[in-house]
Point group: C2
Chain length 261, copies 2
């Protein structure tokens, strides 16, 4: 792309969240947003950009296919992904960087987000899963987990599953898909897709489902939480390091999403 016109870009990014203080830029902290914006600026001859993201992630949360967007004035070098990866640190990588339709905004155009939560069920910890899966060396009733996942499909009031109620104005979210599967013989993966998620929502869902899987509460109890029960009724918040932002679906233009999606 050459000339002085503005162009819009879609960036698909993977990162290991361990050493990042989450997505959002914060003074003095190493964040994904700041790291990416600095790399983009560097390969664009110092032009400053501001990126918008489909799903902000908290400290320690990973991404397999995060999507961000930015606008830039003037000429843009070719092979952007390769150039960015040459200057980015090892724990983050641009998988693709393609020109997008004018007005594309990764947050506003996203129609659904997918996450994966990984649970290592081996009796001893694994050095390869350190910081990359919750280690849960306890008996788990798979059928109970699956019943919980089934109960999640559809629209529910997830008030019980977020601690930050003042940040939100709506607590209903539409879950398109939720399932537990075996990634490996000793790694369970919980996959969920919804229009949007509230802060900590998946981590509280997983923490609560593991309580059902361990016999501490029933599937009926879990089901009852999906109708706007208060936060105190749900279970523990599972740690950030098992959570992966997996991918995004986009519409042809801005979608209605809750402001805090």
């Amino acid at each position: 792309v050459t000339g002085r016109t503005k162009s819009t870009w879609k960036l698909t990014v993977a990162y290991v969240g361990t050493e990042f203080s989450g997505w959002a830029r914060q003074p003095g902290l190493r964040t994904v947003q700041a790291t990416l914006e600095e790399a983009i600026s560097r390969i664009m001859g110092g032009r400053e950009v501001t990126i918008t993201v489909a799903g902000r992630t908290d400290t320690g949360v990973h991404a397999l296919g995060q999507v961000a967007s930015f606008d830039v004035e003037g000429a843009v070098p070719d092979r952007l992904a390769t150039r960015l990866n040459a200057v980015l640190p090892k724990d983050i990588s641009v998988i693709a960087c393609d020109q997008a339709p004018a007005g594309f905004d990764a947050r506003r155009w996203a129609t659904s987000r997918r996450y994966i939560y990984r649970v290592l069920t081996a009796s001893q910890r694994s050095p390869f899963e350190e910081g990359r899966a919750l280690w849960w060396p306890h008996a788990v009733d798979r059928a109970a987990l699956e019943a919980c996942a089934e109960a999640l499909a559809g629209e529910h009031d997830f008030t019980a599953f977020t601690p930050t109620q003042t940040e939100h104005v709506r607590f209903d979210r539409r879950v398109a898909e939720a399932e537990w599967s075996d990634e490996r013989s000793d790694v369970l993966a919980f996959r969920i897709e919804a229009d949007a998620f509230m802060r900590n929502m998946i981590r509280v869902l997983v923490g609560t489902m593991l309580e059902v899987g361990g016999g501490k509460r029933t599937v009926d109890d879990f089901r009852a939480l999906l109708a706007g029960a208060p936060r105190e009724r749900a279970g523990e918040t599972a740690p950030a390091h098992g959570l992966y932002f997996a991918g995004v679906e986009f519409g042809e233009g801005p979608a209605f999403v809750p402001a805090e999606a």
Copy 2:
């Protein structure tokens, strides 16, 4: 186990090789052997042990199921694996620690060793595979790789595949199985099982096969190397960080293996 008698133990261990200077104890270096021996000594009230390993690994090489053995005099606490993992660093974990028949020696009783070499073929690097797979963003002829793997089965003279010819007295090794498979859509895995391996043997095999897969040499050329060709004829040594010691088979007693296995 109580009393003053000697007992023999079999230790199954996983480690991320990145921060270790290989298996073998070396003064002033952080090695897997020294790390394990210190942990064992610590939970055994200071008794010193010397461990023997089925497959020594070089700097940067990982292990999924390494096996080691040791003898100890006197009482041994229960739940050894759990106790060891409580004192071991995060990049190494004991998967199992069981009492073994008297005389068991992980090196001498091993009848075959299995390794995996992982190759990331994605066009951009992955932060999750950093240090854990060779990043090879080049065209690869899968059929050619598979033909090479097929050629490996059986007994061959692997002189061309080790740089340390002075360390060895025999250069023939028996390959029980060798195959390339898709671990994921963008990760190829080369699996090989043999009675024993020479230093760097798998890394030179992989480096040479990738040259065949890239059209730089033919499958016939690769086949010809398996009959005792000199080292200069084979290809590059693939980096250590793609290699995993995967597992061991044991006989009922000492097996004949080359001294340097």
